[in-house]
Subunit: 430 residues, 2 copies
């Protein structure tokens, strides 16, 4: 393969996403000769599709002029991400090299909280004043470099947001009409401080393609478009993955270890407490285990099966709640389904597992004990897997938070108790 | 509370989303008097925000005329969902009551695969022919009831898709200009058969707000708008929750038990195999356990902690990969972080746990054994939690599929082995 690794200007311009994927696979030491020869403008577009660590690597090996051009021209979100990774003096040096308009723009953007509407908004939008005629407004639009908008915002002389006009309405009106006749109310506006989660919810509830952003004094400062929320929607939707095992939704794969340690440790301590609870169940049967050590060997099998089956029920129910496909009032239906599934799969696994244990131990009693315990604990898994997120929601909690930790406690206790309890009753057969 | 449960026409019209939330909380037997008096048109809008089971309940208690009005006027997606739940004869009866245009529309829609572009598309869009002048095109737009679009599609006389024109460009052009001068190429179009996943990916890669949909012969038949993909984006993003524990991403909270049983059982059998593997590790130490039964009691504590810590590392890494915040080439960074976290949290938990065990057993040896095992198994958890999804990706697999099952095997084996192994070495202290 030649030094370009297949990434050349023409390719970069036509297929920025594919080029980004290609760049992603180039080892860091080989990056410099590849990206050094590329057009910074085209590179800046492809860099939006790189993972942040790779984007930084690429940025770092570029000559200063190329760096400045990327900061100046690329999407502000990329520029802010890149600048955030530099140390203060490097950042200042680069900012000083920019045109003052861009510099001030980026500084203002960096001042907003991460994940706030201020950071996510697009600062280019169309705005006109209501006193104009349709013809005058169209003339203003003609002078703007923006294309492809579907509405124009209407602002007062102090840039206070007053409404919006559909461009389609402008196109259909005659030039002498007053713009004011076509102004529609803006029902939904957010401030620069509005959280990403709230924005996602707002766009979901409303049927808007974009939401205007005003500052704390009500002046229009930007617009959040649907497509810039794509990442935010995915991000919010996948947060449950982390919350269910006691990881803060803010933690990222490359967060600092200190942040991860501090946030995860409390939940691990709670998990420790629940693990001792499960252990105390085993403790109740210590005498029995001393007599039949094979029980200790098979103990994790029942609890493990129950744990996984419970996690299945939990995942489906939690996702159903998150996507609003079920509400908590449907708890009977969900529970009924999971009881059926637990019972059926419990019987199926009891048969497989019973046969396997019989072949291993040649003890019919032990095989029977594990089979009975399997059915009982799988049932308990289905019941708790479906009820944990529903009960959490009913209590006003997030159905994801710590759900996996609560579930494991239930399935462990159920698994241990059903297995050792059945063994106690059927001890004469062991 | 009066019989309306606070849901009245005015409220329904102004706040459909809130009204839907209100409706969701009304028990099914009390629905009829509440919804019977509502304006079907406003109700149809609110019903889009109901969970499907509740939407069906509401629909079922309405008089036939109201049902027909909802099918006729509400979003086609709602109509298709409602019709899909009825038995064949009821569905036919209702369809027969509709105007023939609506009936054919709905039939055509139902013929598309679920989750295909055909089902998700909007059948109302603006289209004109290229031979027109700008003025003529504007006249056509004026006759259309659609408002708020940002572009018009250009089609041939056979309705083949030829391009699109920004409405903003139309607004700015003079009426005599030829429309053909303003036509832009459409780079991205999908067919009615295109999958939802592919659509989501396409909208993510491109910077479009909507994608035109063509049939297999290239005729324009609809448009998929960003906002109708909102649910699809969330749905695709949350599929990992299920895949990681061996549940098919197609399963829903209210899927038929038979579907759930058939799809979950194979993974539960694989999990059973891995549970036996973990049990065989315990089997190696059967003699030791017979001597010190306290080991059997504490066994689940170490494995449980390691399992939860591993699930934390797994969740963060998997989410990072899914959101493309990391690529597999960053494996060293991710692994390094998780090793640090595992080591630190392992030491912290070893101290807590060691003290607790000493207080319970008054055995310094046992406390030391569990403390050492805790550090080792927490390290193993961090390593496997971060590497499992990365290795799966490297092997060309989905990083989520069965990741939790693989991880649990590793953390169980590591937990049992480190605990019982350390106990063997330090047996003289027990």
């Amino acid at each position: 393969m030649n030094v370009s690794h297949g990434v050349e200007n023409e390719y970069l311009r036509r297929h920025p996403v594919d080029a980004a994927e290609q760049l992603e696979t180039i080892p860091d030491p080989e990056l410099e000769p590849v990206v050094g020869s590329l057009d910074p403008r085209a590179l800046g577009i492809a860099m939006e599709y790189l993972s942040p660590p790779k984007a930084i690597e690429v940025f770092e090996v570029l000559p200063r002029e190329a760096q400045l051009e990327i900061l100046e021209r690329a999407a502000p979100r990329l520029a802010v991400t890149l600048l955030a990774q530099l140390d203060d003096s490097r950042r200042e040096q680069l900012l000083e090299g920019l045109r003052s308009v861009s510099r001030e723009d980026l500084r203002r953007l960096m001042a907003f909280r991460e994940n706030s509407a201020g950071r996510l908004m697009d600062r280019s939008y169309l705005a006109v004043q209501a006193e104009l005629t349709v013809g005058q407004a169209l003339k203003r639009l003609q002078q703007s470099p923006l294309r492809g908008a579907r509405s124009v915002f209407v602002v007062s002389t102090e840039r206070r947001l007053e409404g919006r006009v559909d461009i389609q309405d402008l196109a259909l009106a005659s030039g002498e009409e007053s713009l004011a006749d076509h102004v529609q109310r803006v029902d939904e506006a957010v401030t620069t401080e509005t959280d990403r989660e709230e924005l996602v919810e707002l766009l979901e509830r409303s049927r808007l393609d974009s939401v205007p952003v005003v500052d704390l004094e009500g002046h229009l400062v930007g617009v959040v478009r649907y497509r810039s929320l794509f990442h935010a929607i995915e991000d919010v939707a996948t947060a449950d993955l982390q919350k269910m095992v006691g990881v803060s939704p803010e933690e990222r794969a490359l967060s600092l270890p200190g942040f991860a340690i501090k946030r995860r440790l409390p939940w691990l301590h709670i998990n420790l407490l629940t693990a001792f609870l499960a252990a105390s169940v085993v403790g109740l049967f210590e005498g029995l285990i001393a007599q039949f050590t094979a029980l200790a060997v098979l103990l994790p099998v029942v609890a493990g099966q129950s744990g996984n089956a419970g996690a299945q029920a939990l995942a489906v129910t939690m996702r159903g709640l998150a996507l609003r496909e079920i509400g908590i009032r449907q708890w009977r239906l969900v529970l009924g389904k999971e009881v059926m599934v637990g019972l059926f799969n419990g019987v199926a696994l009891a048969i497989t597992c019973g046969i396997a244990v019989y072949l291993w131990s040649a003890s019919f009693g032990l095989a029977l004990v594990i089979a009975v315990a399997m059915v009982m604990s799988m049932l308990a898994a289905g019941i708790s897997g479906s009820l944990v997120p529903i009960v959490l929601t009913r209590l006003g909690q997030d159905p994801a938070t710590a759900s996996s930790i609560i579930l494991t406690t239930v399935t462990d206790v159920a698994g241990f108790f059903s297995f050792l309890g059945t063994a106690t009753i059927l001890a004469f057969m062991l």
